[in-house]
């Protein structure tokens, strides 16, 4: 049976987990797997963190309002700008984006939910854990104070001895896990769950931008994960990744951070571009001009976004060739960005423009992002950048693109989709006041900062002298910041009034173009009564106003209550919260006591096993083949392995970059035992063969052989780990440890993380073996073994690369 949304069989059980009233409501939210509720959870959390980050900004601006000010101490100020940046990026803009990914993407593609609803919930709870942990540092009195991009070696234990940086590292790692899981989920959803007839090029632009963003997340987070692992190991275990005296290169942190950091800014802005690409056509009553070009531009921006990271390092001394190369690459990216702006203008040209609040914010983005993008072009030239970087000029640039771009886009989305999500309309009068206050306040706050940069004011300074010409612009900027605050208050009033007694919203208040307007406001729990027909790009508009492209499947009748009762809906689950809780406990343990780490890890493993087995016997979950003919879980594994390529690639690249730089011995050729490692390599390769046999046995229903080969694979994996344990023990006895030299740091972390992957694989295979022992692994479960096999073969291939580059090549 396919996982086609118009399925049959069981109606999902209600949240049968608690008593009546308020408790039931709370439990309902804690166990929800409904993408709409998860979207609201993201949005509400993001808004709270946004307010927190905003307060931090206002205190910063108060301190800088006049020279030599004493509102906060230097220590407090440095923590404020660190927390403000980290909060706004990871806890405000990204989860606001996630609110729209979650709520809207399934509706926009005509699906009833995402590919993995429980993983979706898991992403949210892990995000919340990370956000709470980061802000717990404020309560603990030790917030991080090293800047949101924490350059090594200021972040070393020596120069930042307190818990602040540790809070920062652990929180970011948790937030990274959340984003990664969501990325896999949405890639599979968008590729595999589109309604029949919705080809890729017929997808709304917002969905395209979301897809590009998820790929960016999947591939950009691994490098920062590795960079943070290096920092964590330096701080906790005495490794030398950022230890200059041991031969390290401090540029490593910057490269790893910005290989993540630059795609991150596209992660932040592309959803806003997608929103504008929906809002402008709707309120101009014209299609998006050049929609395919806008789509291709977004893809190109995402792709090339991986090639420009060192434009953040023009002052770092990389040399003229690197400077020139990254300068050209950065300028090239301006082209697809400019193309989008022109296409948006052409969309408006000749239209019949209705000046709703949503449109105001979208227009704001077009104008303000143009300014931000142009100041970015100035930064793309290293000679100019050498004056502008690390000054208030770049602060102005980044706020023009992040507030003028991302935030204005998000507010456009909020005003646009609020009726759909809440069933009520926001006030247009208050909406326009919101916009104009925000627009005026924002420009007053940040345009003068261009001048401050030109007049040489460095960034991240808690105070400044009065005789440098910076006074007036700083005061203006502070006033503007408070006007932004008032604008946000106006929005909150608007939202409150709307929720309390706003006018009820019809299904299609804007004469919309896309599928979400085809269902009620808010949608029923099952999103669509019947799978929506797809008549082309802007399908709903074509349905209403023509021209309609031929349908690929016949329109299914909406059916009555009986049809709804036959839908399979994802059941609520307590395991996402439990897994996230285990991770939070382990994270808190990392900052306090190792016992909590152990408890947390055990808790997490237990919760993951329960999570994995929760629907093992649910018939609707047996076949998850999607629109591309591929099982959701296989597609998810492939995406995950793609990110793992970047993970191990970063580790190997660091190993190679640091090769030969150790200040003391031993060197690789003096300590590595190639003959013995060749045996363990052969063993691991053979285990892949056994894995192939195991899968074949499961697929043909031969349970005995399946058990034999599954256990065999795990056993060979254990042998490999045994060899590794032997090798590590020999090395430690010979005095070669993690802390010994740079080679020790890179070798043990690389092979240790690989060994951890093997160990996880072994546990996975043994669980499948136990399932088979209990008679619960049939031919219908072959795909579960198949994805374990994909993972296992991948870990093998990585080992071949490691063995070659670390052991064999001198």
């Amino acid at each position: 049976m396919s996982a086609h949304p118009a399925g049959r069989v069981l109606h999902a059980p209600a949240a049968a987990l608690a008593g009546a009233g308020a408790t039931a409501a709370v439990v309902g939210w804690l166990t929800t797997v409904d993408h709409k509720r998860i979207g609201i959870l993201y949005g509400a959390s993001a808004f709270v963190f946004f307010l927190l980050g905003g307060v931090e900004a206002l205190v910063i601006r108060l301190q800088l309002a006049v020279p030599n000010n004493t509102v906060v101490s230097a220590h407090a100020y440095n923590a404020l700008f660190t927390m403000h940046g980290t909060t706004m990026i990871f806890l405000a803009v990204m989860p606001f984006n996630a609110m729209f990914f979650n709520y809207m993407v399934p509706l926009l593609i005509g699906a009833r939910d995402v590919a993995f609803p429980r993983l979706n919930a898991l992403s949210f709870w892990i995000f919340l854990a990370g956000g709470l942990l980061l802000n717990a540092s404020l309560l603990a009195g030790t917030p991080p104070d090293v800047g949101w991009f924490g350059y090594a070696n200021l972040t070393s234990k020596h120069y930042a001895p307190g818990l602040g940086v540790d809070f920062w590292i652990v929180s970011l790692q948790i937030l990274g896990v959340s984003s990664m899981i969501a990325a896999v989920n949405f890639i599979v959803t968008i590729l595999n769950m589109r309604a029949p007839g919705m080809t890729m090029m017929r997808m709304p632009v917002f969905v395209w931008m979301s897809l590009v963003v998820q790929f960016l997340i999947a591939l950009a987070f691994p490098p920062i994960t590795v960079g943070l692992i290096f920092l964590m190991f330096d701080r906790f275990f005495g490794t030398h990744f950022y230890d200059v005296a041991a031969g390290a290169d401090l540029h490593l942190w910057q490269h790893l951070f910005w290989i993540f950091g630059h795609p991150e800014v596209y992660i932040l802005i592309l959803p806003a571009f997608g929103i504008v690409s929906e809002v402008l056509p709707t309120f101009a009553r014209k299609p998006l001009f050049g929609a395919p070009v806008v789509i291709y531009s977004g893809v190109l921006i995402g792709f090339f976004g991986f090639g420009v990271w060192s434009h953040h390092m023009f002052a770092a001394g990389m040399g003229p060739v690197a400077d020139a190369a990254f300068s050209i690459a950065t300028m090239l990216i301006a082209i697809p960005t400019g193309v989008k702006i022109f296409n948006w203008l052409a969309t408006l040209w000749g239209g019949s423009i209705r000046p709703t609040s949503a449109l105001h914010f979208a227009l704001g983005l077009v104008g303000l992002f143009t300014i931000g993008g142009l100041s970015g072009v100035m930064h793309a030239s290293p000679p100019v950048d050498l004056q502008q970087t690390d000054s208030y000029f770049v602060v102005a640039h980044l706020h023009y693109v992040l507030i003028g771009g991302s935030l204005f886009g998000l507010f456009a989305g909020i005003y646009y989709w609020w009726p759909k999500m809440t069933g009520r309309l926001l006030g247009e009068g208050l909406g326009r006041l919101n916009f104009w206050l925000m627009f005026a306040g924002f420009n007053l706050a940040f345009f003068p900062q261009h001048y401050l940069g030109v007049l040489g004011m460095p960034r991240r300074i808690y105070t400044y002298r009065p005789d440098l010409g910076w006074n007036g612009a700083n005061l203006a900027s502070t006033i503007g910041a408070f006007v932004i605050g008032v604008a946000v208050l106006v929005f909150m009033v608007n939202a409150w009034r709307s929720l309390r007694r706003g006018a009820p919203a019809p299904a299609d208040p804007w004469d919309g173009r896309t599928l979400e307007w085809r269902t009620s406001s808010p949608p029923p729990v099952h999103d669509f009564d019947a799978v929506p027909p797809v008549y082309g790009r802007d399908s709903f508009w074509r349905e209403k106003h023509g021209p309609r492209r031929p349908l690929t499947v016949a329109v299914t009748p909406a059916g009555g209550p009986a049809a709804h009762a036959a839908l399979h809906l994802p059941a609520p689950s307590r395991w996402p919260v439990m897994v996230a809780l285990g991770m939070l406990i382990a994270a808190v343990g990392a900052l306090t006591h190792v016992a909590l780490v152990v408890i947390g890890i055990l808790w997490t493993i237990w919760a993951i096993i329960r999570f994995a087995l929760e629907h093992h016997r649910t018939p609707e979950h047996a076949d998850q083949t999607g629109g591309l003919g591929l099982d959701h879980r296989k597609m998810a594994m492939w995406v995950f392995l793609g990110s793992e390529c970047f993970f191990f690639g970063t580790l190997v690249a660091t190993y190679l970059a640091y090769k030969g730089r150790s200040v003391v011995g031993p060197a690789p050729h003096e300590i590595l035992n190639i003959p013995v490692t060749s045996v363990s390599t052969f063993d691991l390769l053979m285990s892949s063969l056994l894995m192939v046999l195991a899968l074949a046995a499961v697929q043909r229903g031969d349970r005995r052989q399946a058990r034999l080969w599954l256990f065999g694979t795990a056993f060979f994996g254990l042998i490999f780990l045994g060899f590794q344990a032997y090798e590590f023990t020999e090395f430690v006895h010979a005095g070669f440890t993690l802390q010994r030299n740079l080679f020790g740091s890179t070798f043990f972390v690389l092979t240790g993380l690989h060994g951890t992957h093997v160990a996880i694989g072994v546990l996975w295979l043994l669980s499948l073996w136990v399932l088979d022992l209990r008679g619960r692994l049939g031919a219908a479960d072959a795909v579960k073994v198949e994805i374990a096999g994909l993972y296992w073969h991948f870990v093998d291939v990585v080992w071949i690369a490691i063995f070659t580059l670390v052991y064999l090549i001198p």
Partner: protein
């Protein structure tokens, strides 16, 4: 590099260009908000060196282009929104135009051409300003500390802190390094910034053109007192520079009897000697060299002018003036601090 003979006329021409470029930038940037002092101490558009001038040249080109594009797009946006506003009673639906291939090609190629105009001088200036310094350049080692600047002239055997003297008209080759964290050396009027990265020797070469004093400040967040890490660069005419070098290398004379002599005695028997060098008196290496402290105009990396009052206040409690300063309060009485201050100010 131009010869001494040519430099006179070239210098005049360059000065003329500088004034023009500066006012061009000023005009371009003043749109909307006028009245800024473009020659403020940290101005990035008041070029006083060859590198700064090269940068300003590219800066001017890019700024004009960028402002022009912003105006075009902004005006187009405003016009479109007003012109195509929906009017009540206007007939149904606007023409549903989906695209126009020629238009797409044009507005892909046009930005590419504009970027080419920006890229060519950019690449040229990158390579020109990062060329190896000439053999006769004055070599200076810059060491960035938390939170002060050390300057060492190996060929001249001069060591000083927080105040960099260079001769006008002669290339200066800075080598940047540091014993602690990443800092960034930035004197806007003399050029762009370059990071001080421990373990790497970054280079910055420039030729200052006119005598004068310029302000610099650390431009890479380096800890609690990052905001308090300024510096002064004094560009001397060649003979004034020679005099300065001689004064730096001379043995400090005996201080005048009275507070200065008392100050020296207090200094010599206090913890000061563990961190500071005063030639002939102490050889500490953790803090700034104080041999010619009195010849400087500011103290504690440019955060205060040097007067008896400010130096006394500093000596009594450095972290009060510079949060987390590595120099501790030494428990000096008011009178003792004053005496030491008088001594230090006399070290010229």
């Amino acid at each position: 590099m131009p010869s001494d003979h040519a430099r006179g006329t070239l210098g005049d021409a360059k000065a003329a260009v500088d004034v023009r470029t500066t006012s061009t930038i000023g005009l371009a940037l003043s749109l909307g908000l006028g009245g800024c002092a473009w020659d403020a101490p940290m101005s990035t558009v008041a070029a006083r060196s060859d590198v700064a001038r090269e940068i300003l040249h590219v800066y001017a080109i890019i700024t004009w282009i960028v402002v022009g594009i912003a105006l075009v797009v902004g005006i187009a946006l405003a016009w479109v929104v007003v012109r195509f506003r929906s009017r009540p009673g206007a007939p149904g639906m606007p023409a549903q135009i989906r695209g126009h291939t020629l238009l797409e090609i044009s507005w892909t190629i046009a930005p590419a051409i504009v970027l080419l105009v920006i890229a060519i001088p950019t690449i040229q200036v990158i390579f020109r300003t990062q060329a190896a310094p000439p053999r006769d350049a004055l070599q200076v080692r810059v060491l960035g500390h938390q939170w002060w600047w050390e300057f060492r002239y190996p060929a001249l055997e001069v060591v000083t802190a927080n105040e960099l003297h260079v001769p006008a008209g002669r290339p200066v080759a800075l080598t940047l390094d540091g014993p602690d964290v990443i800092h960034s050396f930035w004197v806007p009027m003399l050029g762009g910034k370059r990071d001080v990265v421990p373990g790497r020797q970054n280079r910055l070469t420039f030729t200052a053109e006119t005598a004068g004093e310029y302000r610099g400040q650390c431009a890479e967040f380096c800890g609690v007192s990052h905001a308090n890490m300024a510096m002064r660069v004094v560009v001397d005419a060649p003979d004034a520079f020679a005099r300065w070098v001689a004064a730096q290398k001379a043995e400090p004379g005996e201080p005048a009897p009275g507070p200065a002599a008392d100050g020296k005695a207090i200094f010599a028997r206090s913890a000061c000697v563990g961190c500071h060098t005063i030639r002939g008196v102490s050889s500490g290496a953790l803090g700034p060299d104080l041999t010619t402290f009195g010849s400087r105009r500011t103290l504690a990396a440019g955060i205060l002018p040097i007067t008896v009052e400010t130096v006394t206040a500093w000596l009594k409690n450095p972290p009060a003036l510079k949060p987390d300063a590595k120099m501790p309060a030494l428990g000096l009485t008011d009178e003792q601090a004053r005496a030491v201050a008088t001594y230090l100010i006399g070290l010229k």
